[in-house]
C-alpha cells in the first residue's frame, strides 16, 4: 500500500495521536458544559472532515451532508423508539443506511456539476426534512423523537471519550484513503473529470464510493450523536446545519486535510458561547468569519501550513 508508508500519512497520524492524548485530560479539568461543548465539537469535526472528502477533495459540493447525519440519528432513534432495538445495533444500521442512501444520491447526481449538484443534493436534504416534519405520527415531527441515551446517563464524559475515539479512527481512515490511489483519483476528478476518464479512471465508481463512504461516516456520527443528545428534531436538517459545516471547512481550509479539524472545533465553540448574546450573536459570528477570511483566504490551514512544514523540515 502506498498510503500507510507515505510520509504524509505518518506525519498526520503522529499529530493526530499526540493531540488525542492531550485531549484525554479535558474531562479532568473541564466543567460538564466544557466537556459537552468539546464532545459536540468532535461530532462536527467528523462531519466536516467527511464532507471535505466529498466536496474539498472530490469536488462534489454536496449540500446534503447534514441529512446523512440525520438519517443515521433517526434510523437508530426510530428503531429504538418503535421496536426497542438497541443502540448498538441501531447505530451501525444507521451508518449503513446513510451509506446506502449516499450511494443512491451519488448515482443520481453523477452527471451534475457545481451549483446543479449543490441544489439537487440540497433538494434531497429538504425532502428528507419535510418528510421528517410531516410524517409526524412515525417520526414525532418537530416535537422531537425521544431516544435512549447510549450509556444510560447524560454525563458527557463517556460520550466525550466515545467521540474522541471515533474522531481519531475516522481521521486516520480518511488520511489513509486520501493517500491511497483513490485519493489521487478524487483530486483528479475535482480538477478535470474528462481528463481523469481519459487516463482510465473509473470516475463513476470513485465518485459513488466517496459519496457512500462520506455519507456512512456522517450517518455513524449522527447515530452516536443522537444517543447523546436524546431529542431528535427535524432541525437537524435545517439548512443552517449544513451552512455550519461549510463554514467550518472553508474557514479551516477547503480541500486540505487539516482544514476541517482546525475549523470545526473553533466554529462550534464560538457559536455555542455566543448564544448568550441573543439576537446579536450571529452578527458577531459573521463579523469574525468575514475578518478571518479577509485575512487568510486559505483559511486557518493557510495560516498554519508554514509552521507545519517547518516542523517536519526540522525533524526530517
Amino acid at each position: 500500500m502506498i498510503a500507510l508508508s507515505s510520509p504524509t500519512f505518518r506525519r498526520s497520524a503522529i499529530a493526530i495521536l499526540v493531540a488525542a492524548v492531550l485531549l484525554l485530560f479535558v474531562p479532568l479539568v473541564g466543567s460538564n458544559y466544557v466537556v459537552h461543548v468539546v464532545t459536540i465539537s468532535f461530532y462536527y469535526v467528523i462531519l466536516a472532515a467527511s464532507w471535505n472528502l466529498l466536496a474539498g477533495y472530490t469536488g462534489q459540493f454536496s449540500l446534503a451532508h447534514h441529512a446523512f447525519a440525520a438519517v443515521g440519528a433517526y434510523t437508530s432513534g426510530l428503531l429504538g423508539y418503535h421496536w426497542g432495538v438497541s443502540a448498538w445495533i441501531g447505530i451501525p444500521a444507521g451508518a449503513v443506511l446513510a451509506g446506502a442512501m449516499g450511494y443512491g444520491l451519488g448515482r443520481l447526481v453523477l452527471r451534475m456539476r457545481t451549483i446543479y449538484l449543490a441544489i439537487a443534493t440540497w433538494a434531497f436534504a429538504e425532502t428528507v426534512h419535510v418528510y421528517l416534519t410531516a410524517d409526524y405520527a412515525f417520526t414525532r415531527g418537530e416535537l422531537g423523537l425521544s431516544v435512549k441515551s447510549l450509556y444510560g446517563t447524560l454525563n458527557p464524559t463517556p460520550y466525550y471519550f466515545t467521540f474522541l475515539g471515533l474522531t481519531v479512527v475516522v481521521l486516520l481512515g480518511l488520511r489513509a484513503l486520501i493517500d491511497s490511489p483513490i485519493g489521487y483519483f478524487m483530486r483528479a476528478i475535482k480538477d478535470d473529470e474528462l481528463r481523469a476518464k481519459s487516463l482510465g479512471i473509473d470516475t463513476t465508481r470513485v465518485k459513488v464510493i466517496v459519496f457512500s463512504i462520506s455519507s456512512a461516516i456522517a450517518g455513524l456520527a449522527g447515530g452516536v450523536y443522537g444517543h447523546y443528545i436524546v431529542t431528535l428534531t427535524p432541525q437537524m436538517l435545517d439548512f443552517s446545519e449544513m451552512a455550519k459545516i461549510v463554514v467550518m471547512v472553508v474557514i479551516g481550509g477547503f480541500g486540505s486535510f487539516i482544514g476541517p479539524i482546525v475549523g470545526a472545533a473553533p466554529v462550534n465553540i464560538v457559536l455555542t458561547y455566543l448564544a448568550s448574546y441573543g439576537e446579536w450573536n450571529l452578527a458577531f459570528f459573521a463579523a469574525i468569519v468575514i475578518v478571518l477570511m479577509r485575512f487568510s483566504m486559505e483559511g486557518i490551514a493557510g495560516l498554519i501550513a508554514p509552521l507545519w512544514n517547518r516542523l517536519w523540515a526540522r525533524n526530517a
Binding site: 466544557v34 409526524y136 425521544s146 441515551s149 436524546v230 431529542t231 431528535l232 432541525q235 455555542t272
Partner: protein
C-alpha cells in the same frame, strides 16, 4: 447572587418574537424581586441564552447555565422540543425547569421531578374552542394546520374531542408546511368547503399570511376565523391587519376584563411605562415564572435545587392572574402543571385595543 436561567428563542429558526416577550417579562420580574431586597438575602441574576428552537442548543445552554453559571432553575422554554430535550438532561443534573409557553404534553406527562410548566396544554385549549363552537352553533369547521407538533397535535385533539364529546361537527382538515408562504391553493379548497368557522392553527408569519390571503379569496370577513393562540394581542397586529383584523376570534390567556393579581397589576404598570404598550401573555407569563421561582426559593429557605423542587410541589404561589398557582403531582399531563385560564376573544371594531376585545368564552379547567 442567585442565578436563574432563561432559555428562549432569540434568533431564527426560533420564534424570536415569542422569546423576546418572555425576556421582557422576566427582566422586569428580576428587577421587582431585587428592588424588594432579593431573596435569601441575595440578589437574583438572570442568565439569558438563545435556544434558536433547537434541542441541541437548548440542551447545551442548560448544561452551561447549570455547570458554569450555577443557576437554581431554568425557565423560559417556548418551543416544546427544546423543553423536552432539556428535561432529559435536567433529570440527571437536577436543576428544575419551568416551561413558560411550550404546550406539548410530553413535557409534564413524563412525570419528571424537575419538570414544571405554567402554560395551557393542548386538551385545555381544544376544550375551550369546542365550547365556543358549540355555543356559536357552528356545524362545519375547516382546520388549517401546520405540520408541526403544534398544528397536528391540536388538530388531532380537536378531532378526538369532537368524537368523544359527540359534538357532531363536520371537520375539513388541511395541513401545510410551516415554511409555506402562499396559501392560495389551500384557501381555495377551504372556500369550496363553505365552512362556518376556519381554525387557523399556525404559528408566526403563516397566521398573518393566511388571514391576508383568506381576505383576498373572499373567505374573510364573511367566514369567522379563530386564531389558535394570542398572536392578535401582539403590538403589531393592527399594523398588519388594519383592513381585515376586525371580527377575528383568538385564544388568549389574559384580558384586563379578567382580574389581575396585585403583583400582576404592578407589573402591567411597569411594563407599560417601559415599553409604551400593554403587556401580553408571553411577557406576563415570563414575569410570573420569575416571581414563582423567587417565592419558591423563599419557601425552600435555600438555593438548593432539590429544596426548590420540594417547595414548588408543595407551596401555593402568586402569579399575574388573580388565582392561586400550584404544581401538584397530578395525573397525566397535569403533573407539575399550572394551567392559566383560557379565553376566546373577538375584536369587534377595527383598531380596537385588545384589552377592549370581547371575551366570548372564558374557560377554566375543571
Amino acid at each position: 447572587d442567585i442565578g436563574i436561567g432563561l432559555d428562549i428563542p432569540l434568533s431564527a429558526p426560533g420564534d424570536a418574537a415569542g422569546g423576546q416577550l418572555i425576556r421582557r417579562g422576566a427582566e422586569i420580574g428580576i428587577d421587582t424581586v431585587n428592588a424588594a431586597g432579593g431573596v435569601l438575602g441575595k440578589k437574583l441574576k438572570l442568565f439569558v441564552t438563545d435556544s434558536q428552537s433547537t434541542p441541541q442548543m437548548g440542551v447545551a445552554n442548560y448544561r452551561r447555565l447549570v455547570s458554569e453559571d450555577k443557576v437554581v432553575a431554568v425557565t423560559g422554554m417556548f418551543h416544546s422540543s427544546v423543553a423536552i430535550g432539556i428535561n432529559e438532561v435536567a433529570k440527571e443534573m437536577g436543576v428544575p425547569t419551568l416551561a413558560v409557553q411550550a404546550s406539548a404534553s410530553d413535557i409534564t406527562a413524563k412525570h419528571y421531578d424537575i419538570a414544571f410548566r405554567t402554560h395551557a396544554v393542548d386538551p385545555v385549549r381544544v376544550a375551550a374552542w369546542m365550547e365556543f363552537i358549540k355555543k356559536k352553533g357552528f356545524k362545519k369547521v375547516s382546520i388549517l394546520a401546520e405540520t408541526t407538533d403544534y398544528g397536528i397535535g391540536l388538530t388531532d385533539e380537536t378531532i378526538a374531542q369532537n368524537k368523544s364529546g359527540n359534538f357532531g361537527i363536520e371537520i375539513q382538515k388541511i395541513t401545510f408546511d410551516n415554511k409555506a408562504t402562499d396559501f392560495s391553493a389551500q384557501l381555495l379548497q377551504v372556500k369550496a368547503f363553505k365552512p362556518d368557522l376556519v381554525l387557523n392553527i399556525a404559528v408566526g408569519t403563516p397566521v398573518d399570511l393566511i388571514m391576508d390571503q383568506a381576505t383576498t379569496v373572499g373567505l374573510l370577513p364573511a367566514t369567522p376565523m379563530l386564531i389558535s393562540y394570542d398572536a392578535p394581542t401582539r403590538p403589531q397586529y393592527w399594523q398588519l391587519h388594519a383592513k381585515n383584523g376586525d371580527g377575528i376570534y383568538f385564544i388568549a390567556y389574559y384580558s384586563p376584563k379578567a382580574p389581575l393579581s396585585d403583583i400582576g397589576k404592578t407589573f402591567a404598570a411597569t411594563y407599560k411605562e417601559k415599553y409604551k404598550e400593554d403587556p401580553v401573555y408571553g411577557a406576563l407569563n415570563g414575569y410570573g415564572a420569575i416571581m414563582i421561582i423567587a417565592d419558591g426559593l423563599k419557601a425552600a429557605g435555600s438555593a438548593d435545587p432539590k429544596a426548590l423542587i420540594k417547595a414548588l410541589e408543595t407551596g401555593t404561589f402568586k402569579s399575574w392572574p388573580d388565582a392561586p398557582v400550584t404544581f401538584p403531582r397530578a395525573d397525566g399531563v397535569y403533573w407539575h402543571n399550572w394551567v392559566p385560564p383560557v379565553l376566546i376573544m373577538q375584536y369587534t371594531k377595527p383598531m380596537q385595543d385588545w384589552k377592549e376585545a370581547d371575551v366570548v368564552v372564558a374557560y377554566s379547567k375543571k
